[in-house]
C-alpha cells in the first residue's frame, strides 16, 4: 500500500493540534507505532480556541492542501470552552471558504481525545485520501497570480 502512495502526489496538511488532546493523541499514535499518511505538519497550540481564522487562511494561501484542526471533545476542553469557540469559528469559516470557491473538505475539524491515537490515524488517512481525490490545492497559485 505504501509503495503505491509514495509514487503518487502526497498532499500537505497543516494541522493545528490542541496540546491536551490531539497533540497527545498523535504522541500516542507514535508510541503505538500506528502508521498513517505522512501528510500532516503539526503546529501545537494550547487550545483549539487559540486558532485564529487568519492562520487557516495563511496556510491555504501559502500552499497547504488541507488544514486539520484537532481539539478536545465537546465538554472536555482543558480550558472549559475553548473548543466551542473553535467550533463556532470553524462553522463560520466553512461557510466563508465555500463562498470563496474552496472545497470545504480541505478544512476539517475533529475532536480527538488524548486516548484516541487510533482516531488520529484514521482521520489523517481519511483526509489524505479525500485530498488525493480532490487534487492539489490551487489556492496559492490564485492568491499569488494576479490575472489580467
Amino acid at each position: 500500500m505504501t509503495n503505491m502512495n509514495t509514487e503518487q502526489w502526497s498532499p500537505k496538511i497543516v494541522a493545528f493540534f490542541c496540546n491536551w488532546c490531539t497533540y497527545t493523541a498523535s504522541d500516542l499514535a507514535g508510541v503505538s507505532r500506528l502508521r498513517y499518511a505522512p501528510s500532516t505538519r503539526v503546529i501545537r497550540v494550547m487550545c483549539s480556541g487559540r486558532i485564529d481564522p487568519e492562520f487557516i487562511m495563511e496556510a491555504f494561501a501559502k500552499g497547504a492542501d488541507g488544514v486539520l484542526i484537532g481539539g478536545c471533545h465537546p465538554g472536555d476542553c482543558h480550558y472549559s470552552e475553548g473548543n466551542y469557540k473553535c467550533l463556532r469559528r470553524y462553522d463560520l469559516l466553512q461557510r466563508y471558504i465555500e463562498q470563496m470557491g474552496i472545497d470545504t473538505r480541505r478544512l476539517r475539524l475533529e475532536w480527538i481525545s488524548a486516548a484516541e491515537g487510533k482516531k488520529l490515524q484514521e482521520v489523517v488517512n481519511e483526509m489524505t485520501n479525500t485530498l488525493k481525490e480532490i487534487g492539489p490545492s490551487k489556492i496559492k497559485h490564485v492568491v499569488e497570480t494576479i490575472e489580467k
Binding site: S10, W20, S26, D27, V45, D52, F55, K62, H78, Y79
Partner: protein, 663 residues
C-alpha cells in the same frame, strides 16, 4: 520587536534517537538541509541529543559560536522539552529561545516511507527555524504550593496514599463517597496469594486513617467543584446528609435496634444484597467512621413523615437529626490524588451466563461475601435459597474481560481471585470446583506458585471460553442443575458440565462516575475509560493536569499490591511538589497591550476564568495573569490584535505556518 533587529544565530540539532529516528529519517540529509537555511549557524546530528554529551554539545555551541537560538529535532516536546530548555539555560541562554521539533512520535514512528518521513522532518525543522527567530525571552512564574493534599476515594489506594502523606507530616483531606472507607477490599474475605484475611490487614489501616492527626476524613461526601491550578486548588466537597450527627454518634447500634423495622428489609449494599438491612444502618462492624447512616430512600420518616422515630428516641446522645441538609465544605489544597477505583462488570450484560435469570449464578463479589466468616452466611457456602450446600461449583473466568462484546481488556485480577475463590470454596464446602479459563494469567510474586498449589488441591481446570450457562437438563442427573457448556481446548471437544452453583469472575470497569470526575479535575481518560496517565512508563501516576495524580484501579485494573505501590508513588510525587514549596508555571499567559485595546470587551466574555476585566476609566481591558491559564481563546477573538499570548504569539504561529509551506 527588538529581537528582530539582533542578529539571529541558530544552532540546529537533529537526534538519531538510536534507530528510533535515524532508522527511518535520513538525519544526515536533514542536518545538511537545515545548515543552509537562513540564520542557521550550525546544524548537527547526534545519536542521543537528550544524553549528557548531547546536551553538552548544545551548550558548547551556544558559548563558542555565540548562538542565541536553539532548535532540537527529536521526540515530543511533552517528553524532553524541559531537558533541552534546561540545557539551553545552563549555557546562559533564555530557555524559551529553544524550540523543539517532534520528528519521532510525529514522523519516524508513524511513517514507513523514508523519503516522505525525511521530507516531513525537513518541513517541520524549517518551521521551527523560522519560528525560533521570533521566540521571546520569558521567565517562568513561581507560585507557592499549598502544602495540603486532597485524596479522593477511600479504598485501599486512597488509604495508602493518605497515610503516606500524613506520615510525612502533610495535612490530608480524604474524601469518600460512601458512608465508610475501605472500598472493595473491605468486602473481600482473603487476599491472594498469601491468603491473609483482608479485614485483618485493612481495618487497622482504616482506623489509623481516622485517628491520624493529619488526616481529615470526609466520608459520605463527594467533590462537587474544582477550581484553581497546581499548588492552589479550591475544592468544593458536598457532604451528603447522614441524618446522624457524626460528632455525636458512637456506633452503639441502639438506633438500629430501635428502628420501626424489626428486621432488615432492604438489600444491604455491603453484602451485594445477600442480606437485608434497615433504613438506619452501619455498613459493617468495622466501618470507619463507625457512624450510623439513615437512608432517606427507605426510611419511613422521609417517605411518609409518619414514623414514630424510635431510632431518634433510642439515641441517648441525640445524634439523630432528620433536618440535616447537604453541606458544602470548601478546601484549599495544593495537590490532589485521585484513587476513585473501579466498578465491577455488570454480570447481567453477559446474558449467556444467566446472571439474574438463574438464582444460583453468582458474581465473584457475592461469593467473596459468602465465604467470609463475617458475611451474611457466616462463611457457609449456600445457594441462593440460603440452605442448600452446593456439591459442584463452576467458576467462569473473563466475564466482562477479554471479550469483544463487552470489554476488550484483561482485568488482571480475575485469574488470581478465581483461584483464591476456588481454594476457599473447596475449603468451605468440599464441593467439586471447575475453573473455566481462557489463559491462566498469574504474573506476580508468588502468583504462579499459588496456581501450582491449586492444581494440586484437586480443583479442575478447563481451558476454554464458556459458551453458555442454562438449566436445560437432558438427563435425570442434570435435573435441577446448571449446565455449563464450554469448549475444552485441551482435549478439543465441547463439554457440558452440570453444577449446582456458577461463579462469574467479573472484570473491572472504570467507575461509573469516572467521566464526571475526569471533567472536574480536567484530566483525560484512555479509550476504555480509565484515567489516563501522563506517560505509561515515565509518569505513570501523573496526569496532564499538574498537581493531579492518580493511583489504584481508577487508572486501570490492578490488584491490591499494585494499588498500594501506585498510591505510594503518587504520594511521593505529591510530596515532591509540596516540599519544593513552589511550582514554576509555563509562561503561556496572555496580556493586553493597552495602546491597542479599544475596550470592546469581546475578550471579556471569552474568558472562562474571568481573568479579563474592563477598566472603564482607562477604557481598556486587562488580564489578571494569576487567573489566566493560557488557552489563547481571547487572542483569536481580538479584532485589534491587542492581546498577545506568550509562547504562542501570532507572529510565532504565522512564521511556523510559513516555515512549513515556504520551501
Amino acid at each position: 520587536m527588538s529581537n528582530q533587529k539582533e542578529e539571529i544565530r541558530i544552532g540546529y540539532y537533529v537526534c538519531h534517537c538510536g534507530h528510533n529516528i535515524a532508522g527511518v529519517i535520513d538525519v544526515k540529509s536533514v542536518a545538511e538541509y537545515c545548515a543552509k537555511l537562513p540564520n542557521v549557524v550550525v546544524a548537527r546530528e547526534y545519536k542521543y541529543m537528550c544524553s549528557d554529551p548531547g546536551q553538552e554539545l548544545i551548550q558548547k555551541d551556544i558559548k563558542e559560536l555565540n548562538l542565541n537560538r536553539v532548535v532540537v529535532a527529536s521526540c515530543s516536546p511533552l517528553l524532553h522539552e524541559s531537558t533541552f530548555r534546561g540545557a539551553t539555560s545552563k549555557a546562559g541562554l533564555n530557555q524559551f529561545y529553544m524550540q523543539m521539533v517532534n520528528i519521532r512520535e510525529n514522523a519516524s514512528w508513524v511513517h514507513e516511507s523514508k523519503e516522505e518521513a525525511t521530507e516531513k522532518a525537513k518541513d517541520l525543522s524549517r518551521a521551527a527555524i523560522h519560528r525560533v527567530a521570533f521566540n521571546k525571552a520569558l521567565e517562568k512564574k513561581k507560585v507557592p504550593v499549598n502544602p495540603t493534599a486532597l485524596v479522593v476515594g477511600g479504598g485501599i489506594a486512597g488509604i495508602a496514599a493518605a497515610m503516606s502523606l500524613a506520615n510525612a507530616g502533610k495535612k490530608v483531606y480524604l474524601v469518600e463517597k460512601d458512608p465508610t472507607i475501605g472500598g472493595y477490599m473491605a468486602k473481600f474475605d482473603k487476599t491472594f496469594p498469601t491468603l491473609d484475611c483482608a479485614a485483618c490487614i485493612l481495618t487497622p489501616k482504616m482506623s489509623s486513617v481516622l485517628k491520624h492527626p493529619n488526616i481529615t476524613l470526609l466520608s459520605y461526601s463527594e467533590v462537587s467543584e474544582v477550581e484553581g491550578y497546581v499548588g492552589n486548588y479550591k475544592i468544593k466537597v458536598t457532604r451528603k446528609p447522614r441524618y446522624v450527627k457524626e460528632e455525636l454518634c458512637v456506633g452503639c447500634y441502639d438506633c438500629i435496634t430501635a428502628c420501626t423495622f424489626k428486621e432488615g428489609k432492604f438489600p444491604d449494599e455491603f453484602n451485594f444484597g445477600l442480606s437485608k438491612r434497615k433504613p438506619v444502618y452501619i455498613p459493617f462492624p468495622q466501618a470507619t467512621p463507625l457512624v450510623a447512616v439513615i437512608d432517606e430512600k427507605t426510611c419511613i420518616h422521609f417517605k411518609t413523615g409518619k414514623c414514630p422515630q424510635t431510632c431518634a428516641k433510642a439515641c441517648e446522645r441525640n445524634a439523630i437529626d432528620f433536618t440535616q441538609k447537604p453541606e458544602v465544605v470548601e478546601l484549599n489544597v495544593g495537590v490532589v490524588i485521585l484513587t476513585t477505583g473501579f466498578q465491577p462488570f455488570d454480570a447481567k450484560k453477559a446474558s449467556n451466563y444467566g446472571y439474574g435469570k438463574y438464582p444460583n449464578v453468582f458474581t465473584s463479589l457475592e461469593v467473596e461475601r459468602l465465604v467470609n466468616a463475617s458475611g451474611p452466611t457466616e462463611g457457609h457456602v449456600v445457594l441462593r435459597d440460603g440452605v442448600t450446600h452446593p456439591k459442584s461449583i463452576g467458576i467462569i473466568h473473563c466475564v466482562g474481560s477479554r471479550d469483544e462484546k463487552t470489554n476488550k481488556w484483561c482485568s488482571r485480577v480475575c485469574c488470581m481471585y478465581s483461584l483464591k475463590l476456588a481454594h476457599l470454596l473447596k475449603e468451605h464446602s468440599g464441593a467439586e470446583i471447575y475453573n473455566f479459563y481462557i489463559d491462566m494469567r498469574t504474573p506476580g510474586k508468588g502468583y504462579e506458585e499459588f496456581y501450582d498449589k491449586l492444581l494440586n488441591e484437586g480443583v479442575q481446570f478447563i481451558r476454554g471460553r464458556v459458551a453458555e450457562v442454562n438449566d436445560w437438563a437432558t438427563t435425570p442427573e442434570e435435573k435441577g442443575k446448571l449446565l455449563i457448556r464450554a469448549e475444552d481446548t485441551m482435549i478439543g471437544m465441547v463439554r457440558r458440565i452440570p453444577v449446582d452453583m456458577v461463579v462469574l469472575a467479573v472484570g473491572l470497569e472504570p467507575g461509573k462516575d469516572a467521566q464526571e470526575i475526569r471533567k472536574m479535575f480536567n484530566i483525560s481518560c484512555s479509550n476504555e475509560g480509565f484515567f489516563l496517565e501522563r506517560h505509561p512508563k515515565l509518569a505513570p501516576v501523573d496526569t496532564f493536569t499538574e498537581g493531579v495524580f492518580i493511583a489504584g484501579a481508577c487508572q486501570g485494573p490492578k490488584d491490591i499490591p499494585d494499588s498500594v505501590a501506585q498510591a505510594g508513588a503518587a504520594a511521593a510525587q505529591a510530596l515532591a511538589l509540596i516540599d519544593t514549596g513552589h511550582v514554576e508555571l509555563e509562561p503561556n499567559t496572555a496580556f493586553i497591550t493597552e495602546e491597542r485595546c479599544c475596550g470592546c470587551q469581546v475578550c471579556v466574555a471569552m474568558c472562562p476564568y474571568t481573568a479579563i476585566s474592563f477598566d472603564p476609566v482607562k477604557k481598556a481591558s486587562s488580564i489578571n495573569e494569576a487567573l489566566c491559564k493560557g488557552c489563547g481563546t481571547c487572542v483569536a477573538a481580538c479584532g485589534s490584535n491587542a492581546i498577545t499570548q506568550n509562547l504562542f504569539t501570532d507572529v510565532e504561529i504565522m512564521s511556523e505556518i510559513d516555515g512549513i509551506l515556504i520551501n
